[in-house]
């Protein structure tokens, strides 16, 4: 019996979801290979770790809040807090995700040749965004429900209301996001460009992440101090309640789980929440479908920079440079002009100090207290090792060296057909990484030395260690990507962010810095003996890695096949 074909809408939705998650679990047979088994296990551990990490953070906050509010009989306020929190997070994610999906509009436009009506196209895209939002709402609300459930023992129906309201939570933000974005993108040609979306989305995302981090730091600081938390929540209770009153999905959720509400009232509030979300989403899909299709059609319109070159202009732009400089310039341009590479690479050097500053400002008193507590230990070798460690970390956090060949996968055939020595290509990639490493050292080591107020001698020693250490680590990262590059990828994001070499490099450098720190704290050596010891290790590592990169690496580049 032949299977009934799926409806065009369902087929499109399935394709969207498969493209979004793109999880290819290995077949049973393939798991017999230790490499595949280890890789699969690693990915599972990483996924569990990520969910557990965020889950733990929310659980700690919910538990802290419950414990702080229970003596006042205000423990159910924790649910209001979780509902408002979930609404805000889901709204922000919905907006960013909806915006970022426009960057693939050129591919989506291919579906316009198929018999799909405009509202189906938009609904399928909105459903894909929902598939990202729903687990987030479920996680935040679910953890709050779990904490409250364990401590207050509500009836089973409480969990059902929480579940269904969590499922309803992303619908209104989704509808609002598209109701705002579609008209804006329709009138702005500037926004209908992939680069613009990646930059705008990237910066909004970073700003929101920083804002969220700021808020979390503040909350964590207060949760550690129940009195502060009680003061903050009771003084600001009206504000939280205002948000819940003002935002219908949150208000309806609170109505559904409110104590003393009849079952009929709770069910009605839950159904109203679901109905409101579905109705708004359907209305947006229906009203904005045609405009959405127009955006897809007109997406990426660009006008080439026209104008015939005159003799003077031609003479000024066609200039000869040494091959090596040209190679380094190519590396810089290709990385800095690709938004995905820039935001996740060189920009990280600026971002990490900003996050640190936010943490410091948000947890002001606590951080100052922590620094005061650390200060007595900031003697001896720590005076130069801490600034050096900060610089080394920032200098290696850009993922430039450890993804250098992976990023070049699409042009590697052509690059290898040019009369270039592989060692020159390798050296150019290293110099590119070291240019940004220098910026990291300035911010991390010099900035750290100034902040900690260390002596000039210690600052110089820290600077030297940071230079040697970052050169060695960047050479190590480049060696990893030379011997095990990720040359098969479908977009720049996977070349950089889904590249295991980037994870190895960041975790490796953190581990190394921590290890050397522990060693320095335990070995009974004179203050500058550590500088000599670590400096020697770094320099020796540079020579060893130089040999590996420029000898074995040269051969490896010749054999490299995308």
């Amino acid at each position: 019996m032949s299977r009934r074909p799926a409806s065009p809408f369902m087929a499109l939705l399935t394709l969207n979801l498969k493209s979004l998650f793109a999880i290819h679990l290995p077949e049973k047979k393939a798991l017999a290979s230790p490499k595949v088994l280890l890789k699969t296990f690693g990915w599972i551990v990483l996924a569990v770790f990520l969910v557990a990490d965020f889950g733990f953070m929310f659980a700690m906050m919910d538990i802290g809040m419950y414990n702080a509010l229970a003596p006042l009989g205000m423990q159910s306020f924790m649910l209001l807090y979780a509902t408002v929190m979930s609404s805000v997070i889901v709204f922000l994610f919905a907006f960013i995700t909806s915006l970022s999906f426009f960057s693939s509009a050129q591919y989506e436009a291919l579906f316009l040749t198929m018999p799909l009506n405009p509202s189906s196209l938009l609904t399928a895209r909105m459903a894909t965004v929902y598939a990202i939002e729903a687990p987030i709402a479920f996680l935040v609300m679910g953890i709050a429900a779990g904490v409250y459930g364990i401590k207050s023992h509500p009836g089973f129906d409480f969990y059902l209301y929480m579940l269904f309201n969590a499922l309803a939570m992303p619908l209104v933000p989704l509808a609002v996001s598209y109701a705002v974005l579609v008209p804006v993108m329709s009138v702005s040609r500037w926004l209908r460009r992939k680069n613009t979306i990646l930059y705008v989305g990237g910066f909004i995302g970073l700003a929101l992440a920083l804002g969220f981090n700021f808020y979390l730091q503040r909350m964590m600081a207060r949760i550690e101090n129940p009195v502060l938390l009680q003061n903050m929540l009771t003084q600001n209770q009206l504000n939280f309640a205002d948000i819940a009153d003002w935002w219908p999905p949150a208000w309806l959720t609170m109505q559904a789980i409110a104590q003393g509400r009849t079952a009929l009232g709770s069910i009605a509030a839950t159904l109203a929440n679901l109905a409101l979300g579905v109705a708004l989403t359907a209305a947006v899909a229906f009203l904005f479908g045609k405009s959405y299709v127009k955006i897809l059609v007109n997406f990426g319109e660009t006008s080439a920079v026209k104008g015939t070159l005159n003799q003077t202009q031609a003479g000024s732009i066609f200039r000869a440079r040494p091959v090596f400089l040209s190679l380094v310039q190519r590396e810089l341009r290709l990385m800095n002009r690709e938004p995905m590479y820039l935001l996740n690479g060189p920009f990280v050097i600026l971002l990490l100090p900003v996050i640190f500053a936010i943490t410091f400002i948000a947890q002001g008193d606590e951080m100052r207290g922590a620094v005061d507590q650390i200060r007595p230990y900031l003697t001896g070798q720590a005076e130069y090792l801490i600034p050096a460690g900060l610089g080394i970390f920032l200098a290696t956090a850009t993922s430039i060296s450890c993804t250098a060949f992976s990023r070049d996968a699409k042009s590697l055939h052509f690059l290898k057909s040019l009369p270039l020595r592989p060692r020159d290509i390798i050296a150019a990639k290293l110099v590119h990484a070291l240019i940004f490493a220098a910026l990291g050292i300035v911010l991390g080591t010099v900035g750290g030395a100034i902040m900690l107020g260390v002596s000039t001698l210690d600052a110089i020693v820290a600077l030297l260690l940071a230079i040697f250490g970052s050169v060695a680590l960047n050479m190590g990262g480049l060696a990893i990507d030379t011997f095990w590059p990720r040359l098969s990828w479908e977009n720049p994001m996977s070349a950089l962010k889904r590249n295991p070499n980037a994870v190895i490099m960041i975790l490796g450098s953190m581990g190394l810095i921590a290890g050397l720190g522990v060693l320095a704290a335990t070995l009974p050596l004179a203050k500058y003996t550590f500088a000599l010891l670590y400096g020697t290790i770094f320099v020796a590592a540079c020579f060893a890695l130089g040999f590996v990169l420029f000898r074995a690496g040269e051969k490896r580049v010749r054999q490299m096949e995308p």
């Binding site: 920079v305 026209k306 104008g307 000869a320 590697l412 290898k416 040019l418 096949e561």
Partner: protein
């Protein structure tokens, strides 16, 4: 002159033998067409002869220089137009040309002259300041054509150069290929477009499943077909392939001869 001697290549991941003991000599002063169906091994062969990938066995000589032993010197002797024009799309057109010219160490005045001349021929002068990402596929291909000639190479290797070109640019390319060969240079290009190959090539090589199944000119190909019997190996009776190949018996176009030869090389269908 380009020489490929007993080249073989098996891809480790798939285990596919892409090129099988291929020997080919491409003399100076002619346009040499490299034909084959999809997946025949054309691009792999071009990648081996340009040093982009290494052969398992065999050697490549460019103007008598061994590519494996003297890669830099050998690579200076050719210009390549790759099959994927989407290279370095984040660069502007002139930045890309400057990069390639720097790699070949072309002085500023010489590169300016070559680029201006070729950009005018391919009607690309107006967009040299544009980002490559804003260009159409055809424009990118033209940019690669200019880049491949910026150092005036003796050997010109082109992988599917006609794809995406407008009629005017395709004509300009064919003219350039003729000029290059007439000046004593070598032109080696792969194509699917049989009409182009038929009109422009002095010599042909046909490859299928990694094996060379024909080398010579069009006349030799026709003679080969006649000597083998035009009606043999024309596929299972009654199939569209059989009908097409049967028509080839009377049709002496390159496309018909090519189809019949490829069909022959694949042996009888089970």
């Amino acid at each position: 002159m380009i020489e490929l001697r007993n080249i073989s290549k098996t891809y480790a991941k798939s285990g596919t033998k892409a090129v099988d003991t291929l020997t080919l000599q491409i003399p100076d002063g002619i346009i040499y067409g490299f034909l084959g169906p999809n997946g025949a091994g054309k691009t792999t062969t071009i990648r081996i002869l340009t040093g982009a990938i290494a052969a398992d066995t065999g050697s490549v000589l460019i103007d008598g220089i061994d590519l494996d032993k003297n890669p830099i010197e050998a690579k200076q002797r050719f210009g390549l137009v790759p099959d994927t024009p989407d290279l370095f799309s984040r660069l502007r057109a002139y930045e890309y040309l400057n990069f390639v010219a720097d790699v070949y160490r072309v002085p500023a005045a010489a590169r300016t002259s070559v680029i201006e001349n070729l950009a005018a021929r391919f009607e690309l002068s107006d967009v040299l300041k544009s980002p490559i990402s804003s260009m159409s596929r055809g424009m990118r291909m033209k940019l690669n054509l200019i880049a491949s000639l910026v150092h005036a190479p003796h050997n010109w290797i082109l992988d599917e150069p006609i794809v995406g070109l407008d009629p005017h640019s395709a004509f300009a390319l064919k003219e350039l290929m003729r000029e290059h060969a007439a000046a004593g240079g070598t032109v080696f290009f792969s194509t699917h477009v049989m009409e182009v190959a038929e009109r422009i090539c002095d010599e042909l090589a046909i490859i299928n499943r990694g094996k060379l199944i024909f080398t010579g000119n069009l006349e030799a190909l026709r003679e080969l077909r006649e000597s083998r019997g035009a009606k043999s190996g024309t596929g299972e009776a009654g199939t569209p392939v059989a009908a097409e190949a049967s028509a080839a018996a009377d049709d002496e176009s390159l496309e018909a001869l090519f189809l019949a030869l490829v069909e022959d090389s694949e042996g009888p269908k089970l």
